[in-house]
Subunit: 338 residues, 2 copies
Amino acid sequence: MSIKVGVVGYGTIGKRVADAVHNQKDMELVGVTAHSYSFLTEVAQLKGYKIYSSGDASDLEANGIKPEADVKKLLEEADVIIDGTPKKVGKENLENLYKPAKVKAIFQGGEKHETTGTSFVAQANYSEALNKDYARVVSCNTTGLTRTLNEINKAYGIGSVHATMIRRGADPADIYHGPINGIVPVLEMPSHHGPDVMTVLKGPEVFTTALSVSTTLMHVHSIIADLKKEAEVQDIINLFNDTTRVRVVRNAEKVRSTAQIMEFAKDLGNSRGDMPEICVWEEAIGTDKSKKKLFYMQAVHQESDVVLENVDCIRAVTGFEDAEKSIKMTNESFGLKK
Amino acid sequence: MSIKVGVVGYGTIGKRVADAVHNQKDMELVGVTAHSYSFLTEVAQLKGYKIYSSGDASDLEANGIKPEADVKKLLEEADVIIDGTPKKVGKENLENLYKPAKVKAIFQGGEKHETTGTSFVAQANYSEALNKDYARVVSCNTTGLTRTLNEINKAYGIGSVHATMIRRGADPADIYHGPINGIVPVLEMPSHHGPDVMTVLKGPEVFTTALSVSTTLMHVHSIIADLKKEAEVQDIINLFNDTTRVRVVRNAEKVRSTAQIMEFAKDLGNSRGDMPEICVWEEAIGTDKSKKKLFYMQAVHQESDVVLENVDCIRAVTGFEDAEKSIKMTNESFGLKK
């Protein structure tokens, strides 16, 4: 029996999760929503995805797209909905659509933890989402922090973390937001990322600050972790090399920046040139003299890291108990080696 | 009998042509060169491409890449070499490598027309390269201008063309060049593009100017053509819709900028997110009152449009006479519909 999945909100994350669901052996993509006509809808139709209108369908029909039905029909036919709508719309959909239709739903990191009470990163807390009606995959940045910190915490114990997120200003296809020339500090202390990590990774105190810069490609995190045990740099490299969904990249192979990570991802043949793994620069891992303060820098592809998490979360909320097996199935469908 | 192709210079164009050759039914990729270790070499090895060292192999070997042989062996085994080396290196290679080895060679637009005497855009002058020992695929911009102007010239006759190229500052993975904040006029009149078009498209007088801006995605051309016959805008749209390797994109489908063209290409599943077709905005095609002055804007993906041309040029120089069939074979291997 396949898990039937519907995607509400077919944007940056929604379209990627739709493709990923379509590629899972144990899932079936029921369809995706469209609220107005665009090249996204054209491509969904080309791929043979059923389109459900989430609003007035006249714009779609005027452009040759005949929706299968209304979004309510999608809710009836799906076991789980992936909600990929913009920030705060997910919460409204929970009340107005998913609860009345009695359908399970998974939200993105734009929603607050309180919306579902369950925040999710597969390799850190898969079992917390087991059989839940509603869960939330945390944001790209929180996912990135959690993936690496969770492994360090298991191996060395972490007291506290201080990290700075250098955030991309806007997504690559977004021509309406900036900055195009400036560095914009987030003026809240801590930024929401630190507290958000703590909804998933229990134990360490995580304090983050953030700034936006003029790039669209990836976020970069500069991380300082206070360890409970001494660490050797080479052991940290080995640890990350063994960690699923983390990739150690090297200046020695001329991966000098986020720009070359994106080029590498394209060359690898990854769908849309995505890099769903968190990339840690080998040459940017260091410790202080005490060996209990660890420094590292990592890059996060904001458009794709959480796609893997959405797929695992679908399995968790529908009762598939084996976290490791789910992660392996998802990874294999993306061509990830570990 | 497959055409045996070697790629010397495995960079932006070389790696794409290597993949394209690998995907042609009538060609065999003998191998590619590497001069030093990088993620490019890693990926070439992952893909199973044979690697030939073009220089000291110690850096490659220290990083676990064992070259098949020296570049001279590649020249012996190939029927045609695609030279994807930087500007002016191609000309040196012609004298120092290809002539002594008596191997056919195709160069890129960084080389001058005089280097081979034969400049090539498949849909405009395929037959000129038939059985030539050496030919040159013109630059991305010249290719883009030629593809659309050639069709307009056939249908309406063009007296003269005045065009402004708004050029991307650097390629996406290039972190060493700019501008990152400024508009840089090319201070030669005309820019080299116009005269370059005239090496391929005989008849129209083409005068171009150019500027570089802070983007990596695509070039954009703003074109004014003086026609010999009156044109209706809808007829020009229809003409471009019927033209191979040209795609009409529309604001109506929310393709508002080069950023959305790149997103569209990713969504279509194109390798590396490339857009090898020249994209003309439907809403940016216009005429003046006389209907003999035509205005249009088009976007050129500098990394990929010429890849199609290299493939066809390989067939031309090895004696395959049917231009239309070659273009069709190449297009089909890229999933292009026309």
